[in-house]
């Protein structure tokens, strides 16, 4: 390999750029005259040396670079080779191994963007211009250090439903201190109101208890019942929450006999309410929690049908599926006919998609103008499961299911549907514009109610079903957490559930680093899915906190205090809430407003850069001056 020098290695801090051009075994050198390129590159101002190699990514190639760094010949590096996506990391780590800062590096893509798409002289010319642009930028590069934000090895979980319990246990097992907050006196959330879990039939109480026991036993978990978040501040690794705790409201008051003894007693399961994990607050108070991440597990609430929707609220024989599940749980275990409140139930009509899959123009909006256009995902299986329970326990109680689509999507769920068919449940299918009508019977049916439907499976004919009971498979709605949404500035989707950054790239994260999602506050989920989501949130929290500090990219905004005039235009332009703030500083004895970047919150997008009238703010690693220098090099005609 030839070597030409045009700048002495004088050991000063002046930028001395080294240019390393790769042949890529002919991929580049067959179309680009690398010899000419090398000669011309050496003449670029500020370039100390230009070299070429058959494979710059190979060990000998990297060694060329490292040797020049070690000898002090160069202190800025440009590699011209394949796309940076392939080897930028390789070369940055070579810099590090040679004792240089990995950020004094710039890459020129002369394979994917030159030799593979252009040919002949124009290819060489373009390659040269890209190299001079990279060199121009390299001269302006400064060493950068990754940002380190100290992080408390502590996590806070809001909501002690199944997802919150799961997340708390996982985080505590992983070695973090955990604060588990619950608005009510009880852990267990909505699952506590269930009997058995579809499709596999585990007891809901056991599922809650097995996690609740671990929460109770775990020394790292502090459970705060009857607690609400009233204050929120900080950033990843360093959030602080203010909690308001209050004695339980009268309707939530728990008989003392239900309270587990102080110390490490067994958790107590109260059907339909949940699990008591210890003493409840007896007086009002405020608690400050300093924490590293916050996991939101605020859950869902079932849709409440409008008065008159399928007879709900008007006909006493109409109830929701959650109500029915509780009634069925409390009913006499078996018998030929299901008895509810002393009344024999021989025929049950179950109606799917109540408060889910609502269609504008067909369904009525709720009081606040919302329609639940989404599918609630869990109701089909829950309905099928309940139907099977009825049919196996009470052979003389018949079940009819009115559906739009049976969404038995998950493992073991289609099997529930088949089982329901074998259990002689009759299915009737309706179109959304022709929903079933629940009416008082004129007596001819022998039941209090009749459900009429235009049944698509019977060629659109109207079919009448006698019913002693109508069960509405209501969907899920997010719990009312507007206070948290406002306080923590949580993003909410059109469906009113909390909105993740991206369903695949960052599925359990909110835009604010360190705020995580677990379970049905994000979307309808069943218990398995909510537990997976909770464990996933715990995993994300663990990657953030495990090291005791959060390492962030150094590419964040930086204010030049000399230039800043405190106009605040950067604050206005900022896309990450709170990443830039105006602070009072004393300059020459005068108090003035100046911008300050909260590095942990800055995304490095540069929206502030464009907005600053005095060029006082820059993103490290991609400053405007660097881009201007690159454009100068590209626009230059000298090379031709």
């Amino acid at each position: 390999m030839e070597e030409k020098r045009n700048l002495a290695s004088d050991g000063s801090d002046a930028p001395r750029v080294g240019i390393y051009i790769c042949h890529c075994g002919g991929n580049i050198s067959d179309h680009v005259d690398v010899e000419v390129l090398c000669e011309k590159a050496e003449k670029i101002p500020g370039v100390a040396v230009a070299r070429r190699n058959m494979f710059m990514c190979s060990d000998p190639g990297q060694e060329l670079i490292m040797e020049d760094i070690r000898s002090g010949k160069v202190n800025r590096i440009v590699v011209a080779s394949c796309s940076p996506s392939l080897h930028e990391m390789t070369f940055r780590s070579a810099l590090e191994r040679a004792g240089a800062n990995p950020y004094v590096y710039e890459h020129a893509n002369i394979r994917e963007q030159v030799s593979w798409v252009h040919h002949g002289e124009p290819a060489t010319e373009k390659a040269f211009q890209l190299i001079s642009a990279a060199a121009a930028k390299a001269r302006l590069l400064e060493p950068l250090e990754p940002l380190r934000v100290e992080a408390r090895r502590h996590a806070t979980v809001i909501g002690a439903g199944i997802a919150g319990l799961r997340a708390a246990v996982d985080l505590a097992d992983r070695g973090f201190q955990v604060a588990l907050l619950e608005k009510t006196p009880f852990a267990g959330g909505r699952v506590a109101r269930l009997d058995r879990l579809a499709p596999t039939g585990e007891a809901a109480s056991e599922a809650i208890l097995s996690l609740a026991r671990r929460v109770m036993e775990h020394p790292a978990i502090t459970f705060y019942p009857c607690a609400q978040v009233v204050g929120f501040d900080g950033y990843v690794g360093n959030f602080s929450l203010e909690l308001q705790v209050e004695p339980p409201a009268a309707e939530d008051a728990v008989p003392p006999s239900n309270l587990p003894p102080a110390g490490d007693g067994e958790p107590v399961f109260v059907p339909s309410r949940g699990v008591l994990l210890g003493p409840l607050p007896t007086e009002k108070g405020r608690i400050q929690v300093e924490t590293g991440v916050v996991v939101l597990a605020t859950g869902f609430k079932p849709y409440t049908p409008r008065k008159g929707e399928y007879g709900y609220g008007e006909l006493p024989e109409v109830m929701t599926l959650p109500q029915f599940i509780e009634a069925l749980r409390d009913a006499q275990a078996d018998g030929s006919v299901l008895m509810l409140s002393g009344r024999p139930i021989r025929s049950i009509a179950m109606i799917h998609c109540v408060g889910s899959r609502q269609i504008p123009g067909i369904h009525e909006e709720d009081a606040s103008g919302y329609l639940n256009e989404y599918c609630s995902r869990t109701c089909c299986s829950a309905t099928l499961f309940a139907a099977n329970q009825v049919r196996t326990r009470y052979p003389e109680t018949r079940v009819f299911e009115f559906y739009r689509d049976i969404r038995a999507y998950g493992r073991g769920q289609e099997e529930l549907y088949q089982e329901a068919a074998r259990n002689k449940v009759l299915f009737l299918r309706f179109e959304p514009e022709d929903p079933p009508r629940v009416e008082r019977s004129d007596g001819s049916s022998g039941t209090p109610l009749v459900v009429r439907v235009k049944d698509a499976l019977t060629f659109g004919e109207e079919v009448q079903v006698p019913a002693d009971l109508v069960v509405l498979a209501v969907g899920m709605e997010p719990t009312g957490i507007q206070d948290l949404v406002d306080l923590m500035k949580l993003p909410v989707g059109a469906d009113r559930f909390l909105l993740e950054v991206h369903p695949k790239l960052r599925p359990v994260e909110l835009a604010t680093t360190g705020l995580l999602l677990a379970g049905t506050c994000q979307a309808p989920m069943d218990v398995s899915e909510a537990c997976n989501a909770a464990s996933a949130a715990a995993s994300k929290a663990a990657s953030l906190l495990a090291k005791g500090y959060v390492q962030l990219d150094p590419f964040v905004a930086e204010v030049d205090m000399e230039k800043c005039q405190g106009t605040g235009s950067c604050v206005e332009a900022c896309l990450a809430d709170g990443a830039i703030e105006l602070v009072d500083v004393v300059v020459n004895g005068e108090t003035v407003r100046r911008a300050r970047v909260v590095q942990a919150l800055c995304l490095g997008c540069g929206a502030c850069v464009a907005a600053c009238p005095s060029g006082a703010i820059q993103v490290k690693g991609s400053t405007l001056a660097q881009f201007e220098a690159m454009v100068d090099a590209i626009a230059s005609h000298e090379a031709a």
Binding site: E112, P122, L130, S622, H637, A640
Partner: protein, 150 residues
């Protein structure tokens, strides 16, 4: 320069998460396109102030294609802010008698090879028609009208 003397240069501002890998995909597919194109990798083009674009034209860049991630942008709100900025750049270009077709905002994904080549071709035609920046013969109003009809 990559282009034969006399041919203008096209600057491409390509986002590192979408358009830059998109340009690489064109390379991997060995699809040829004009060599007078210079791609700068940027995190989010929202970083560039209005004057940056004008200065590029002052320096002799004939056309600029901003290849963003569009609505898939990883920085929430950045695309909208960028679109607004480009609108303001158009106003300034009109004031200076620069044909606004010299600047285009588009979104290119990581495998949008055809869209990438198309954009380059279209800009190539524009700068061929217009010549170097500042040589527009039309009045700015005519240029704007031409741009709108195009």
């Amino acid at each position: 320069m990559g282009a034969p003397a006399g041919e203008g240069k096209i600057l491409i501002l390509a986002t590192e998460s979408c358009a830059y890998p998109g340009a690489d995909a064109v390379g991997q597919a060995h699809i040829t396109y004009p060599a007078n194109t210079y791609i700068l990798k940027v995190k989010a083009p929202v970083l560039f102030p209005e004057e940056f674009y004008l200065r590029c034209f002052d320096k002799g860049i004939s056309g600029i294609i901003v290849m963003s991630c569009g609505v898939e942008c990883p920085y929430e709100g950045a695309y909208e802010a960028l679109a607004k900025r480009i609108d303001r750049v158009y106003q300034l270009m009109k004031q200076r008698g620069l044909d606004i077709r010299r600047l285009r905002l588009t979104s290119i994904c990581t495998v949008c090879t055809r869209a990438f080549v198309n954009e380059v071709k279209q800009m190539q035609e524009v700068i061929r028609e217009l010549g170097p920046p500042g040589s527009e013969t039309k009045t700015s109003e005519e240029a704007a009208a031409a741009a709108e009809s195009a």
